[in-house]
Symmetry: C3
Subunit: 337 residues, 3 copies
């Protein structure tokens, strides 16, 4: 790509591609991930009640991608534990985020400038993880684009994809939500990255690897910063998704005539308005230490889905559901704005 | 087996054993599987709301056996994705079944003659899948009859066995139902096939492989056709099961004295009356496009199980449960008659 | 360790280390495990309704450790099935425990002296299983202490760790309880064993293997016998846990000021008062054949956790929860005394 060459970005791309993630970027990834866990409702209470489950959940947030891609490739999902240094580092950060005297680490890291830098650094690790997944898959399955995409995606967004089972560790079970049903922004950007790196790997995309790494990383970091600063969660792909959805999937639906199709769709599982709560914390911005009692979101979200899943449950249930639906709209607005 | 030889069926058996499943039989398998998914309650709505989760569910219906047997044998469960042609074919069929203009494919395939032919062809693939599983297991575990049976069964009836997790992808969670608790007809016939092919493989069954393939395939196809045409779901094994159950498992039950034991048993998880809803769609016969709002079965079934699981939940719940129980009886009768 | 040498225990340790588990100790393990399953609420009814699911659950109780460690090491989780002799032995015991005429086996084995001997023998198998896990892990990951601990733990306490999924086989789903959230005594003692054997394996612990085996086995057997005889479930580690908890995890909790921290903690998930129901039956002592209708424990336990998980659910729910909480206290007292 000559534009990059002309702009003297080639050297920068090489520099980026040569960076190692350990220790600084990995540390940022662990801090952001554990903070994301801490900001889930009920986790603070869990951290007092059952430190071990809390630690295990944190490890799934930090190493979920490696665990999931290991399972999918029939390689030991326990492997991340064998990297003692990283596990100890992540455990130390887990301890500091949850049990540090006066909550020092969390209070600092939650400040906007620090959060901005840490989240940006975490986004850099995403590039490496997706690329690692694609390379790992290409060893066993040379020509299979689909496997490369799947493993790259799993490695980059593992924490989100296994969220149901991570929650189960904490005694929480929300079957009505998952990242396949409604993708969060981080999951989606990772999927796009996995597609791009897989296309690059199979030479369908006429780009050099380090150029693609630079483009993808810069796009991610900038976009993440924009989301954190503006608090807006408008997807940069909303338009494309909407077009794809309307072209391919809204065609012959008889049920879509009763309500406007665009108001109901979540093109590829996204509706551009309400980011799901479990997204490795990348969309949560300015709020501080939500206590479990002050966030009715999950509870009401659960009820809403129950109501959706069981349309014939009876009137009383529906009325309650209607009320909590409103509540949820309120609280989700509060959350992202 | 000389009877087969005398009847000149030997040549036919050889012909059958030499058939390849791709593309015609595989296509039939995908069509029937995806239609089975579409006929689950709530899936049509899901297909508009979240095409990706719908696609993923379809793939689990189509390749569930390979995924499950992969997990059990510590071989990559992602492997089916590496067969691009089959995945693309299945994806195309998924698209046509759910989003075809004027619902052309589904409306056609749901007509009795087409459904009959497609289901028959799908049954043929069952033989190949069970045999494939048994062979795969026998490579690693030469002499282990039990492993062969398990892998053959998993490969042939994987979609049903992992139904709980397939539903989870769609945001549905019904812990109170699974194929081990109450086997559906397809799961049962696959288990019998896995036992027979394993016995043949270890030479306990004095039959040649291609003869067994012929017998098993013909039995399956004929039986399937009978079920579709008559709409009856009387199991051909009901008598045998009942005898086995009464001999082995109804012995010293003190609780069985209060109610007649045969009315409560589901010998090996089957009661010959109500086929479970999730059976890869093989028992659903003449009904057309059930919308999610018109099928109260699952909802009430869920409630009934909740009531079963929690005997002390309070009177109001029980009253509601009693009502829905009746409803369920009604709707399940409607379904299978 | 010269004390052991002087006491002439060296020979005894060698003798113990040379013992084989099959058939006597394995048999005891299967009997105690299947009895533990039978003592779960609702299982007797399940054994009449669906013998196959009951058998599958029993196998998970007996071979859960091998299945879990297989999954974690990317080795076939189906492998235990390949050991036909052990599977047949376990199946025979399953049959006798559930369907023996006049309930002979269960009635005998539930008598205190027999239960004492069988439980003691089962504890002996724990040593072998933990050690097997540590050795298995050390082949692939020579120097990784954490992996050794994890696999040793998984192999020794697998049945408890996969309890959620074992229950799912039976149609029971209790997401709010798991062994990570609140460890039972057997899980905890296994974890300690895994740590000790891993430390010994990596030479951090200056003890010979057979000496450690002797110490660990004797400690386990004696402690188990004490629990069965006295019916007390006071953890021998309660003091240590409490100190660790107060030092490390109770530090800066703002929420712990409102209630005394020690009354809420379950240091490492244990509170020394209420052993969880699913512990491979090792703490259940004198009770005989609980029928599913007479044990409201699980139901109320479920509600309590629901209430915990959703503090904002509304007053009515809370009132109900308060009532059932009391019920639960009653029934859990009844259970362990």
């Amino acid at each position: 790509m000559d534009v990059i060459g002309m702009l003297n970005l080639d050297e920068m791309a090489h520099g980026l591609a040569g960076m190692t993630m350990f220790p600084y970027f990995d540390t940022a990834h662990y801090v952001v991930s554990v903070m994301a866990l801490r900001e889930q409702s009920g986790v603070l209470e869990l951290s007092r009640r059952s430190p071990f489950a809390c630690w295990f959940s944190s490890m799934l947030f930090c190493f979920g991608g490696a665990v999931l891609s290991g399972l999918m490739m029939a390689e030991p999902p326990i492997a991340p534990l064998s990297n003692s240094t990283n596990v100890l580092l992540a455990s130390l950060i887990w301890y500091l985020v949850f049990y540090c005297p006066w909550d020092l680490l969390y209070s600092c890291a939650a400040l906007l400038p620090f959060r901005l830098v840490l989240s940006g650094m975490k986004e850099v690790t995403r590039t490496w993880k997706v690329l690692g997944g694609v390379s790992q898959a290409s060893i066993k399955y040379q020509d299979s684009l689909l496997v490369m995409i799947a493993i790259g995606w799993a490695k980059g967004a593992g924490g989100g994809l296994i969220a149901n089972f991570e929650q189960l560790v904490r005694g929480v079970w929300k079957p009505e939500t998952n990242e396949l049903l409604k993708m969060s922004y981080p999951t989606k950007i990772t999927l796009i990255g996995a597609v791009m790196f897989s296309l690059q790997h199979t030479s369908y995309l006429p780009l050099q690897k380090h150029h693609l790494m630079l483009i993808y990383t810069v796009f991610n970091v900038v976009n993440k910063a924009r989301i954190i600063i503006t608090g807006s969660s408008t997807s940069p792909f909303a338009l494309v998704e909407s077009v794809i959805y309307k072209t391919l999937f809204a065609g012959s639906s008889s049920s879509s005539s009763s309500s406007s199709s665009s108001s109901r769709y979540t093109a590829m599982g996204f509706d551009g308005k309400k980011p799901v709560a479990i997204d490795n914390g990348n969309t949560s911005t300015n709020k501080k230490k939500p206590s479990s009692s002050s966030t009715p979101t999950n509870e009401s979200g659960e009820r809403r889905s129950q109501a959706l899943a069981s349309p014939t449950r009876g009137k009383r249930e529906d009325q309650r559901s209607a009320k909590t639906k409103e509540q949820e709209e309120d609280s989700s607005c509060k959350k992202t704005d």
